[in-house]
Structure formats: structure tokens, C-alpha cells
Amino acid sequence: MGKIHSVLAGVAALSLAGGPAMSEPAIIYDIGGKFDKSFNESAYNGAETWKEQANGDYREIELQSEAQREQAIRRLAEAGNNPIAMPGFSFGTPLNTVAPEFPDTKFVIIDMVVDQPNVRSVLFKEHEGSYVVGVLAAMASDSGTVGFVGGMDIPLIRKFSCGYVQGVMETNPDARVIQNMTGTTGAAWNDPVKGAELARAQVAEGADVIYHAAGGTGVGVLQAAADAGVLGIGVDANQNYLQPGSVLTSMVKRVGSAVLSAFSDGPELETGIVEMGFADGGISYALDEHNAPLVTDEMKAAADSAVEKIMAGEIMVHNYLTSDSCPYG
């Protein structure tokens, strides 16, 4: 694999050596930062993996404010970078504006559909992953009360919470799920102090497993859960190592592999909608040495059977985005 990539990259480099346009791939990180231990960091790791495998180089921009989105996409496209990846639903509107201006450049957006001929939209079945960690949360909870802390209050995060609640309720119909969102602006992705306060409030109400889908804010959620002696559940990247022994599992969304495959495909990548789930490894729940003592054999069996049933279509997990509502409260 690595060899083929490096050969391809070598060929690409040769063919471009004479031309002025450098066809380096590029990535734009969303607000929250490259090292949020979560969504953006996962994308960053994918880009770094490509760099090692293909021995290539890529450009990156870390956004500081909302106003820079369009400008950043345009700047990279004008500089001849191709393809340009952008993890984050917020890029939807600016990309829809900019993409038609650069018909020869390929764009990859993650978590959002942009209907343009030169855009690949990568979606993840987060609701299914959330369902499975919901099953684990319900089984790990002694109090019968579990919590959810979301980042910015947007339909995508509701998709996480809805799948999670369904997983909890179908495992333990008597369970109670406390849900909170951190805020309604981009700042909600990077506010660990507030995340910790929300987690403390949920613990005070009896929650003993708390799942977060809140980017950098989640670092505070996991911290507060560990401080209070309850369990947290990580998201996007494998966050089990952040508080070893206090993170039940992580709902891993391989944003990195979406970036890696986009970079590997290069300027010739296929556009259209790509949906990643359990079947292709885009979604999984994390098991490693940090959470091994927390996940019993019984829990693992239940989670694995849920994964199989989801793949076989025996469990239908509700997708919030299809109805803009969640039947599970």
C-alpha cells in the first residue's frame, strides 16, 4: 500500500515538475483547532498518515474566525492546491459558493452534503455508532441515569444524541438520559470549563455515564467525569487514553481515513456522496488497554451483536437528519 502510494506520488511529482501549479493537497481545520483531541485532530492524523505514506507534503490552514472560511478555501484553490479537504459542516455554505469558481479543483467536505460536480461529500453514520455506545452506557450505568453533552446545538449533534438515546432506551427501557448542549455558537466547541460544569450538573442529577459530542469542550467533560468518579464516553478520535480507567469507550469516527483516502486519490478523486459506517470501518467503538477493565465480556458481546444487527439492517437506528426530530425524547 505504502509503496504504491509513494510510486504514485513520485509520478505525480515528476509530471508536475515543469508546471507552475503545484498540485499539493490541502486541508482547512475548523474552529476548535487542529489539536482538539477530537474531530480536527483526527483529520490532522489522517493528513499526517498520508504525508508519511506518500512522502508528500500538504498545506493547511487553521481557521481563527467564521469570516475566514470562504477566504481560506479560495486562497488554497487559487494557489493550485488540489484536492482541498475541509472537515466540518460549517464549510457547507462557503464551499457551495466557491466550488463553482474552481471547476478543475476537487473539494472534499466532511459531515455535510454540498451538491456540486467537483465536491466529494463524506458523511458518517454517527447515529449508528452512538447507538452502540448507548448500549454500552446503559449496561455500565448503575444508577439508570446517563448523560449526553453536545457541542453546538445543530442537527448533526442531535443525530449523535438521538442515536445514543435510542441505544440506551432499547437496552434499558427504564433509563433516563439527561441531555445538554454547550451553546449555539462555534465557541461551544472549545469551552472545557463549561463542559465540565455541564458534566458536574449531570452527575449531581444522578448520571454515572456521560457521552460527549462536543469537540474540545469534551476534554472538560471527560475530566469532570473522571474527577467525580463516573465514566465518560469519548467521541470522534479514540479518547480512552485521556482519562485512563474513566473513559468507558469512544465512538470513533475515522475522519482521518476520509482525509487519507481523499489525499491518496489526489486530484482525480471521485466526487459525490460517500457514506461511511461500521461496514467500512468509518465508525467503530474503541477498545484498548485503557478501557479493558471497564468493558465486561457481556457488554462487549452486546455491543458486537448491536453492530452486526445494524449492519444486517435488523436494528434501524433513527437518523435525526431525515426527520429533524427524535422520537426518543
Binding site: 483547532g33 489539536f35 469551552d191 472545557p192 470549563v193 465540565a196 460544569e197 450538573a201 474540545g216
Partner: protein
């Protein structure tokens, strides 16, 4: 809302008010001496970064606190240099300090830790841990008073108690000591202080440094007490809310405590109850709660609830020669 929820809410209020209170008292010393300080935010941020960075490196929250305070004092001295010695515009100097702190912390943080401007997560002795009062476990079973003692009063980090103790201490220093009288005089009528043979410059520098010290405590509390590490721009406007609280409190320590507790309570309520249903009005959105401290300050400034009169010589550099 039951009793346990109220206790939880007040407990959260205490935690959230602490950085505001420390920063507010910091501003109080500075402004009482006639130095306006927009740079509370920047000083807190610098202290938050250096306390977390040094605590991460040494594993000791106390050494971190010392480093954070030193950083804040350095910025306070810079503000003093610009606005007292060189008689520059105090507002501009303060704004510059905010920008400087915001940029420098991210830059140095990225250079040192390669974590995008954040410090590694702190654990164990690198953080200020909650202090449990004596008998808090045994007394918690007593109805009403038990939870108040063991949940609300006990179990906070050191800095929460320091902040509350700083309120009567500030009152005593400002209104019961010779130094306090001189400090207030230099903010009201520096010419008189000068005529009495005291150094306006020295007094104002002292006030600036006390301000730096308190901002240092506030920043260290944010990064090593409340959170477990520094993240970029983690002060998130707390310095400005503290300034608002200072105006709201009309530059008096007792009122400052009340104003900060009120603003902390609003924040705690906004965190816990995201949409509040008020009978007859409908749902109050969470954004309204978040904006309320600023709205209240504007109301005060407009003179609806009494008048807020700043120290008379505030914002004006003092020079001996009359122009």
C-alpha cells in the same frame, strides 16, 4: 426546583464567580488609583497560560501559580510603564496587553508543547484540588445545614476561599489604612497627593502591581483550579465581565462581591437551564441569560439604578507641570 438543585446551583455560582471576583478586585485597586485597566483579560490569560505550562512541567500547582502571577505582574508593570511613566493612553495600553497576551500565549504554547497552543492536561498535584472541610462527610446528613456546609461551602479549591477573603481585606486596606486613603486620593485628586509630598507615580505603580497580582490568581485559578490545563483564549471575555461588574458595583468591594456572585449565578443558571419557561412571557432563550450581565451594566450606566461615578482622575495621566 428542589433544595438539592438550589445547592448545586449556588455551588456552581461560587466556582464561576471566583475568577470574576478576583479580576474585579484587581480592577478595583487599579481604577481607584486612577488607572483604567482594560487589560484584566490579557493579564488573566497570560497567568492562565504560564501557570498551566509551569505546573505541567514541574507537577506543582503552587509553582505554576507563582509563574502565572509573575507573568501577570510583568504585564501590569508594562501597563504601568506605558500609562504612568510615559503617560500614554490607558485604554490603548490595556487593549494592546489583551492582544499581546492572546497572541503570545498561543505562540509560545505551540512552540513549547506542539499542541496547538494548549498545554498538556494536568493531573494530581499539578492542579489545585478541592479542599474538604473537617467533618463535611459526617455533617452532610444534617437536614438543610448539612448540605449547605458539606456541598456548598466545603469542597472548593483554595482560590475560591482566597477570593472571598480578599473582599473584606480589600475593604480594610482601602478604607481603614493610610495606604488605602492615599490610593483613593491619587485616583480622585492626584494634585493634592503630590502637594502632600507623596509620589503619585509610586502609588499608581503599587496599585497596578496589586492589580497584576490579583489577575494572576484569577488566571491560575482558571487553568489549574477550574479546568485542567490551558486552552487558547480560555478567559473567554471574563475580564470584560469583571469590568462590567466593577461598574455595576460602583467601585466598592462589598458590592463587587454581590455583582460577581450575581453574574456567576446568571452563568450557572444559563448552563443548567438552557431554556427557561417564564409564566406569561414564554421561553427565555439561553442567549438572553448570557447577555444579561452586559444589559444590566448598560442599565446602570444609563443611570436607571443609581449612578455609577468613576474615580475623578481615572484615565488621566498625571504630570506635575500644568499645560
Amino acid at each position: 426546583m428542589d433544595f438539592a438543585t438550589v445547592i448545586q446551583l449556588l455551588d456552581s455560582t461560587l466556582r464561576l464567580s471566583t475568577p470574576l471576583l478576583l479580576a474585579c478586585l484587581a480592577g478595583l485597586y487599579s481604577e481607584r488609583a486612577g488607572i483604567f485597566d482594560i487589560g484584566l483579560e490579557g493579564k488573566m490569560l497570560a497567568s492562565a497560560f504560564f501557570s498551566a505550562a509551569v505546573a505541567a512541567a514541574t507537577g506543582s500547582a503552587l509553582i505554576g501559580l507563582a509563574a502565572g502571577t509573575a507573568a501577570s505582574l510583568a504585564l501590569a508593570a508594562l501597563h504601568g510603564l506605558a500609562s504612568i511613566t510615559f503617560r500614554g493612553n490607558q485604554l490603548i495600553s490595556g487593549v494592546a496587553i489583551n492582544f499581546l497576551a492572546s497572541g503570545l500565549t498561543a505562540l509560545i504554547g505551540q512552540n513549547w508543547f506542539k499542541l496547538g497552543g494548549r498545554t498538556p492536561a494536568l493531573s494530581g498535584d499539578a492542579r489545585f484540588l478541592p479542599i474538604d472541610f473537617y467533618f463535611s462527610d459526617t455533617l452532610s446528613t444534617i437536614p438543610v445545614l448539612g448540605p449547605i456546609y458539606s456541598e456548598l461551602l466545603s469542597g472548593h479549591t483554595l482560590m475560591v476561599y482566597v477570593a472571598i477573603a480578599a473582599v473584606p481585606a480589600t475593604w480594610w486596606v482601602l478604607f481603614r489604612t493610610r495606604f488605602g486613603l492615599q490610593l483613593r486620593a491619587v485616583g480622585e485628586n492626584p494634585e493634592a497627593v503630590d502637594t502632600a509630598g507623596l509620589s503619585v507615580t509610586a502609588l499608581r505603580y503599587q496599585a497596578s502591581l496589586i492589580c497584576g497580582l490579583l489577575c494572576g490568581l484569577a488566571g491560575a485559578y482558571l487553568a489549574t483550579g477550574m479546568a485542567a490545563g490551558f486552552i487558547r483564549d480560555m478567559t473567554a471575555g471574563k475580564g470584560y465581565i469583571a469590568l462590567a461588574a466593577l461598574i455595576f458595583a460602583k467601585w466598592r468591594p462589598g458590592y463587587a462581591l454581590l455583582a460577581c456572585l450575581l453574574f456567576g449565578l446568571l452563568e450557572a443558571v444559563a448552563i443548567r437551564f438552557q431554556n427557561i419557561d417564564v409564566a406569561g412571557v414564554g421561553t427565555v432563550p439561553v442567549q438572553f441569560m448570557q447577555a444579561l450581565p452586559y444589559i444590566l451594566t448598560v442599565v446602570i450606566l444609563a443611570g436607571f439604578i443609581g449612578k455609577a461615578i468613576p474615580p475623578r482622575a481615572g484615565g488621566e495621566p498625571y504630570s506635575k507641570e500644568r499645560a
